[in-house]
């Protein structure tokens, strides 16, 4: 079995191509024109970041409950992929923001909370990196994986709690989405493509982690074997 698997990456590539084509084919926005096409990548990236953290949360809870190493691996892999997609959403959002708002970054609550979410999960990864013992690492990561999740609803609700510059929910909201239907179709197409990419990444990380764990599980030398009797020579010992 290869790291990425054989068929899924091809499917992902095809879907991405179709998604991009759909994004280009969809009608331009009345106000923003072609710039608006960035939505088709920015929004799926942000949502998949959420998905990553939801999985981290769920896997952490599952670890508390069942203590399976697989849950810990899943939490770690999902957090990593989630951080990647958060970064992507921030970068694409900035690229979008420069022409639309005139700045790369503003003090919009959604932007700030997204950045903080990025930091929180970077902290999660730093905590994992700093802890060597797998058991201790799993425990601490599970605790923090649950605590850190508080940040996700805050990001989502930030636009509602503080009226602001950033787009309020247009799709993920109760009732009919306030978006043109062909745009919605293109968005959903891209969402599907990104989800498959997400799955490919997640699976690759899981396999890598499993391989690492397996390598660690193979019995190493006993720690005590490194200590031998002193080699007392060189000086004549004539009592």
């Amino acid at each position: 079995m290869t790291l990425f698997g054989r068929r899924l990456p091809i499917v992902a590539a095809v879907l991405l191509a179709v998604g991009l084509a759909a994004g280009l084919a969809a009608p331009p926005d009345r106000i923003q024109g072609n710039l608006q096409r960035l939505m088709y990548v920015h929004v799926p990236a942000a949502w998949l970041a959420y998905l990553g953290f939801v999985i981290t949360f769920g896997a952490s809870v599952a670890w508390w409950w069942r203590r399976k190493p697989g849950h810990d691996r899943l939490a770690a892999a999902a957090a990593e992929v989630g951080v990647f997609f958060t970064g992507l959403a921030i970068v694409l959002g900035s690229v979008w923001g420069k022409p639309v708002w005139g700045v790369w970054w503003t003090w919009d609550p959604r932007l700030v909370t997204t950045a903080l979410m990025f930091f929180v999960y970077l902290g999660y990864l730093a905590l994992r990196r700093a802890t060597l013992d797998p058991q201790v690492r799993a425990r601490r990561a599970a605790v923090f994986g649950v605590v850190a999740f508080v940040q996700v609803p805050i990001v989502h609700m930030s636009v509602l709690w503080w009226r602001s510059l950033h787009q309020p929910p247009t799709v993920l909201r109760p009732g009919d989405p306030t978006i043109d239907h062909s745009m919605l179709a293109a968005l959903l197409m891209n969402l599907l493509a990104f989800t498959v990419v997400f799955t490919v990444f997640l699976r690759a990380r899981m396999r890598l982690a499993a391989a690492h764990d397996e390598a660690d599980a193979t019995p190493g030398p006993l720690a005590g074997d490194a200590v031998s009797a002193p080699r007392l020579e060189g000086v004549t010992r004539d009592g």
Partner: protein
């Protein structure tokens, strides 16, 4: 019942150590005061500007240095001491709760000491100050809990004093927002309740995290 007595013992020990080493109040407080002094030197001594940013800076300093208070050297147990507590039948929740109470008390003192400094240096508008009586304990509690959690998460790791803050600082943002916005809202004649509720929620989440997480964090190896 025993758990309460143990908690009191642990809190008392922490405060006794602080009384002896003065790490939180004698060292971190001047550091915070100097931070407040530095800002006008750096951004210029334009009085209306300072008056405007004064309360905000106060809370930034409280948050950043407050986390250092909760992560003070003397609040680190050696593996031998953690083992002692565990073998004396102290539940991890009790151990961390005792520490959190001690930290919250120290933080309250820290906050109170910095208030006159801020007033003297920035002369902020005094509107809505009675709300501070509610806001200060809410922030102290939340930070004390979050800091304790951070300390437990980073226990025994190489960069513990600095990894800890990074983990929980972003989670403390609602405290910062609530602390700055509640008195401002009150000054503008709005009800500050939503902000106080937000802070209370953070405190409760932190309590919950400690209750649920502590048993999983105990590790002596």
């Amino acid at each position: 019942m025993t758990a309460w007595l143990q908690l009191v013992q642990i809190t008392r020990k922490d405060l006794l150590i602080e009384a002896r080493s003065g790490e939180a109040l004698l060292v971190t407080t001047p550091f915070g005061a100097v931070a407040l002094l530095f800002v006008p030197l750096a951004v210029g001594t334009d009085t209306p500007l300072l008056r405007e940013i004064g309360p905000g800076l106060y809370w930034v300093v409280v948050l950043l240095f407050g986390l250092l208070v909760t992560l003070r050297h003397s609040a680190v147990d050696t593996p031998a001491q953690i083992a002692l507590l565990r073998l004396c039948g102290v539940h991890p929740v009790v151990r961390l709760a005792g520490r959190a109470v001690a930290s919250a008390l120290l933080l309250l003192a820290f906050e109170l000491l910095l208030v006159p400094v801020t007033v003297a240096l920035y002369d902020p508008a005094p509107h809505g100050w009675p709300w501070l009586l509610v806001v200060l304990p809410l922030v102290a509690t939340g930070l004390g809990l979050l800091g304790t959690l951070a300390g437990a998460l980073a226990q025994g790791l190489d960069g513990r004093t600095t990894l800890g803050p990074v983990l929980v600082l972003p989670l403390a943002v609602p405290l910062l927002l609530g602390a700055t916005q509640a008195p401002r809202a009150a000054a503008l004649g709005h009800a500050p309740w939503p902000w106080l509720l937000l802070m209370l929620t953070v405190d409760l989440i932190a309590v919950l995290a400690l209750l649920l997480g502590a048993p999983h964090l105990e590790e002596v190896a």
